[in-house]
Subunit: 409 residues, 2 copies
């Protein structure tokens, strides 16, 4: 009990965009590990640190980082009187704290909530909303990509839980590590920005499945299969802002679209399996396309069944959302599930904190959601309840803070 995890980890630091394993059975912590006899000893789950300033990648952590078990999304509005100078000071404080926390260090005047725990793959990702640029006198530097999303017919958006000047995504494999980061960052906003909305999400805990597997959502579907992969030749171009960007401060950054999508689970769960699979176009058991094969087999969108109808129905979610149906449009979906108890009508207040990443929302989220809004068999089981769009700048360079090229450039 006397051994401080933090103290040990503090000497190691963090490196590697996708997560560096600190210690482990053969590493510096081998001695401590050998003394343990319970199943709860520190594993890579706790010891993995994600770099705040990745050595090679130019983008912030939390975009291509593997899904974490726990997530907090939080938006702030600058308080009246806070302008560009105050925002710059806040981003400087936030960046310093995020870097410390992600490396497993406790910040100044700490609450102690994350003591004992390793960094647990903590990531902190910062973004700017539309209003930020007005309030900081930076309207000229606002990218057109931040133009408000169009209205969709299925929208039932709550403005109090939408948008916001500043947005933070926190992810970690330990709930106390995540909460600790949320409080530390909230406290540093005091006087400069006021909390606008905050949402909690989760994913599978690493180690709960036999292999690193594609996630499942609360409808029970394998979700994330046909995401663009970092190894795809056009991955960077689709997800990250390129060198020809109008707003050079966003080069290497990305745009995040956030939607709180409630699932009508009572209705959904009444559908027979065959119907559920037609709604998506994939098998529920393993995510394979209805046209056969395994999870990673490409869908055969042109295959017809004995009845002459397409095997993957015309309104199947995966067909309507596919690049083939959207002039090649694609984005990186990196959601958390949410469950905020039950509503007064007894239905679960649960669904997907849908977070997707793209170089250009107009040619990705907006293009695809327009299609889904008209012809997606899944949409009758969904309610879009909140929405946000944020410009997520590249990672901070050495000695710098996130957003400096915008705020002081």
């Amino acid at each position: 009990m006397e051994l401080s995890r933090r103290r040990l980890l503090g000497t190691v630091g963090a490196a590697g965009a996708a997560g560096l394993v600190v210690g482990g059975a053969g590493g510096a912590l081998g001695v401590a590990a050998a003394q343990d006899d319970g199943p709860e000893a520190l594993t890579t789950l706790g010891s993995t640190a994600v770099a705040f300033r990745p050595a090679r990648a130019k983008h912030q952590a939390g975009i291509t980082t593997p899904l974490q078990a726990k997530g907090h999304l939080v938006a702030f509005d600058l308080t009246p009187g806070s302008g560009r100078k105050e925002a710059a000071a806040l981003l400087r404080r936030w960046s310093r704290t995020a870097e410390e926390l992600m490396a497993g260090h406790a910040p100044h005047a700490d609450t102690g909530v994350a003591l004992d725990a390793g960094p647990s793959s903590l990531t902190v990702t910062f973004g700017f909303g539309h209003g930020f640029f007005d309030r900081t006198g930076l309207t000229k530097r606002r990218p057109t990509q931040l133009d408000p999303l169009p209205d969709f017919s299925a929208d039932a958006l709550d403005p109090r839980r939408s948008n916001g000047d500043l947005w933070i995504q926190i992810g970690a494999d330990d709930a106390l590590v995540a909460f600790h980061a949320l409080r530390a960052l909230q406290k540093e906003a005091a006087g400069t920005a006021r909390l606008r909305w905050q949402m909690n999400g989760f994913n599978r805990t690493p180690g709960a499945t036999a292999q690193p597997m594609t996630a499942r959502n609360l409808m029970g579907q394998v979700d994330g299969t046909n995401n663009p992969k970092p190894s795809d030749p056009d991955f960077d171009e689709r997800i990250f802002v390129g060198r020809d960007a109008d707003q050079q401060w966003m080069r290497g950054g990305s745009y995040a679209v956030v939607r709180r999508i409630r699932m009508l689970l009572d209705e959904w769960e009444k559908q027979p399996l065959a119907k559920q699979e037609k709604v998506i176009g994939r098998r529920k058991s393993n995510g394979a396309p209805l046209t056969g094969g395994s999870e990673t087999t490409p869908m055969r969108l042109d295959a017809n069944g004995p009845d002459g109808l397409p095997v993957i129905p015309a309104d199947a979610h995966a067909r309507v959302a596919a690049p083939e149906s959207n002039q090649g449009a694609a984005m990186l979906r990196r959601p958390f599930s949410f469950h905020d108890g039950f509503r007064d009508d007894g239905a679960p207040d649960a669904g997907l904190l849908f977070v997707c990443w793209q170089a250009d929302p107009l040619r990705a989220f907006t293009q695809i959601q327009r299609k889904l809004d008209r012809g997606d068999a899944l949409s009758v089981f969904l309610r879009h309840e909140a929405s946000g769009l944020y410009a997520v700048p590249p990672a901070a360079e050495a000695g710098d803070y996130v957003g400096r090229p915008l705020l002081e450039g």
Copy 2:
């Protein structure tokens, strides 16, 4: 991806009260484990199964089971027209499903949400509230231990989130496994019982710390140190109902007191460390008593400082709550933290889903809370917002369901 965890686990079954490790590096899953290269491969976190019918212990799982990372508390009321017969049928359905789920099997007509995952230490624990006995015509068999708790001066209880005829505690180390169980059980209540309230909680994820450590709560304190230990000679007598019970159907069972206790974290976090430590009587860093030693060193309640005052102040929470101050009273605290976002005033809606277990609430929770209510330095930082008291019968015997001796005895 094709390998079904469930199918593998299905052949193994579950045993052992405190959790059986299914597979692992040297076990039946050694082959699968050897094929994994990512840090997320199935670990004991996922493979641990807790027995629904423990081989030796007579009490339900979820009482002495190590804390899980995720928890759901849920209460139901019997619907008008549902009596003893319907309640018995419900408990029979629930018991069968709980047993299947805890062993890692999917129930009939499954949502698929927990597919791929191991049992992940899932526990499902059933209890009866005061009203249950009226509605089932079993008033004569209601234990006096279920008499309503007295009012405490600090109570600000919301009746809609308190009490209930039936109570279930669900715990698991994976959030989807826990949610899956919650939905399955909720669905089986349809027609017989209506959801009354439901709360979500969490604890540290196993593997996030170097050793199995005492939990921390959202105030940052080490919480659980001076809990009675199963190895204590009087543990069973304090926590579980003995053979001399008036209501023999409760023999081997326990009483659960549930309190939603919100923490006034904004006020708490403003207190300097020295003040925070005096409020509890223990060090925040490692939980050691202010009178010295390590976490497990006994408090020296009679030690005075150079100023002649007690080192552990007269109103320190750990002193006021200690058996020494309560005629030996003690209970097993097994809480989850909660965080339901932020309130309209900007304060976190966060704290402790305090769950404690005892053979007799009057001589444990009530005795201690009466003391705390009057003289606890911690209480100014707390709000008791909801309350429940449940009779948790012993585990089901072979071929039986939980509560049969009450319902059909």
